[in-house]
Assembly symmetry: C2
Homo-oligomer: 396 residues x 2
């Protein structure tokens, strides 16, 4: 019998945690594990709103895989996945290399969901990778620099944030913190800078506790964010956005945080999807393919009330750990464990020292929430890289 080949696509939360679980549990030569990723680093997606606004360097949000992957147990391959052929049990990379597998783990993450809104794909930025957020930060700075040379173009100083979900709200908090720094650096009158957060749903943070939503909007409004809730964006243009009300907001920068869908490679490879996500079985397997696992934003799972869980880092981490353990079980002909999410709460930052959240059944606000979020971030870093990584990345 030959050594089983496990191929993991993507080193985001789901793929990385699968790999780390295998690294921990597998004996030498028990399996041939390969992790394919576009970059040599993992990034902490839930922190990307900080470098996007420029309140933290981009490097802060990434972790070199070299430091956390044990290369004697996991082969690392830098490459971009182009397609999956599940019937042939192969994966093709952009550079035309073909990889074969016995077991596949798809952790290819998400892409922006633009809901068919015209021009969003072309003219709005998304908070979706280290490279993308570096461009957002540089774009905002460039707009401030341009304004100083064309002082009649005050719209260069306007930032539109589409979406008041978690990413939109957290990014709004960081942008609000960043504006005074930018105004100082570029000698810009702060009263000329406008930041709009525009949300189509009847409330910010849809589905979240009303008292927490009110607190968040109050904090951000006091920081200067202008909310337009219950106001769909009809179109994004090179000049800004046009709202369903007909109002046009001219803006030098538009950042879309309104939603994500699963990576389109999954659908293109023939898997059945809903908004790009594969409705997986209780072991996170794709329908019809017992050897294909899907984790993170590409996986669709439902709660007891039949409603889909939102794609979060928390669930992706748990899925990765479950998937890694189940792969070990499969190889050893043990019994697999069904995946059941254990939700520990939700925390959102609202800029420096401010936040909201629910931990267990308890609502938390302000600096308590901000501190608990730091604690939760530290636990994640400790999990993937030990105490060394946690200490290196902590910012209090």
């Amino acid at each position: 019998m030959s050594t089983p080949k496990i191929l993991i696509l993507g080193a985001g939360y789901g793929g990385l945690l699968t790999a780390l679980q295998l690294q921990k549990k597998l004996n030498y030569n028990e399996a041939d594990v390969t992790l394919v990723n576009k970059h040599t680093y993992h990034y902490i997606t839930t922190w990307l709103h900080e470098p996007a606004a420029g309140t933290a360097p981009a490097d802060h949000a990434r972790v070199e895989l070299d430091g956390i992957i044990d290369k004697s147990k996991i082969n690392f391959l830098k490459g971009v996945v182009e397609s999956i052929q599940p019937d042939e049990q192969t994966v093709t990379l952009k550079d035309k290399r073909v990889l074969s597998y016995d077991y596949l783990v798809i952790g290819l993450g998400s892409e922006p969901e633009t809901f068919g809104i015209e021009g969003l794909k072309e003219h709005a930025f998304s908070i979706r990778s280290i490279n993308a957020v570096r461009q957002i930060r540089e774009h905002i700075e460039y707009m401030f620099a341009k304004y100083k040379n064309e002082p009649e173009r005050t719209e260069y100083l306007t930032i539109v944030i589409g979406g008041a979900g978690f990413t939109g709200i957290e990014f709004s908090g960081e942008v609000a913190d960043r504006i005074p720094e930018l105004c100082k650096e570029f000698d810009v009158d702060p009263s000329l800078v406008k930041v709009y957060n525009i949300e189509a749903a009847p409330t910010a943070l849809p589905g979240f506790d009303k008292e927490l939503v009110d607190y968040a909007m109050d904090v951000l409004t006091r920081k200067g964010i202008q909310f337009r809730i219950n106001t769909p964006i009809k179109q994004c243009t090179p000049e800004g956005v046009i709202l369903a009300t007909g109002e046009e907001i001219k803006a030098g920068t538009v950042v879309w945080t309104g939603g994500v869908r699963g990576n389109s490679i999954v659908e293109k490879s023939g898997f059945e999807v809903m908004r790009g996500r594969v409705k997986v079985d209780e072991y996170l397997r794709a329908p019809g393919y017992d050897n294909v696992f899907v984790v993170g934003d590409c996986a669709l799972i439902f709660n007891d009330q039949g409603r889909p869980y939102p794609p979060t880092a928390q669930i992706a981490v748990q899925e990765g750990e479950n998937c890694g353990s189940n792969l070990v079980a499969l190889i050893r002909n043990d019994k697999m464990t069904p995946f059941v999410p254990a939700l520990q709460g939700t925390l959102a930052s609202l800029g420096k020292g401010e936040g909201i959240g629910i931990v267990g059944q308890k609502k938390v606000f302000g600096s308590t929430a901000a501190l608990l979020k730091k604690g939760s971030d530290l636990r994640y870093l400790y999990k993937i890289g030990g105490v060394g990584l946690a200490l290196k990345k902590v910012r209090l």
Copy 2:
């Protein structure tokens, strides 16, 4: 007899030094002196290549006028000059305020001379103000950030510097120093970054000692600058430049340093000019107007061989001091002193710790030249703001 009104336009080297000389020599109420400037600060034009490349913050190159102007002797007016009416003895500002004067000092500086090269004005940056250089720095950074999201567009990483005069050479040195930092920040392979310095004349630094020119080109070539000497630029496009040879260099950033002319306001106001500069008399006065002095880049003066002096900070400073003294003489019915430049040498930086120059009759190279340049900069700071300013700005 009423108090004579002296109006100084511009707080560059020429205008500022005129004002400081008046501040030093005039008794209280001997004249009513007003200094008009676009900004509340003076900037050190000869340092602007540093913030343009991003090797120093923009604030380093500017000095708030508040700290060096004695407001009990000089009225400061923030405003933009629109036109001069020398026959009416008035100046009109952009905001339509009209200022009258008995004596006028024009120190309105320069603007880029594009020699009719198509597209330069529209598509190339110029190193000409704090706001302009902040945009150059941000533009270069933005191009690096964009490249990371469109990795096939390597031309985003190309910088074309038009002109190998002093500014072009000094900027090339700073850009060469900055590239490794940018590559590190944005994870860019340094071998993909190209910096071209393109000069139409048969040599870099035309008119300068050949041994020094060779040294400068050698240092910069080793730092990665690619020179195209004796190669005119035919056209600048949104995509880069087209050379007279027909060769196209695609570039994300084009910075034009190829020459300056006097501020066009002077010509538009009816003064007779050559390339925007007024051929002044021995007391720096405009022909036909005994009460209008011209200093700095708007003034054209000739040496004994009948060749025009290049517009430099050194000469502008001396002109300002001469003009201030002569204004005091005029008011006191004393004799004016003809302006004779006292050239102390020329120093150019080639990036950190490198330079060339002539001091007296002696050629200087490398770290000696760089150190002498710092010394010369410090003397200027000491002159305008005393030891406090010199110590605040020193960077060794």
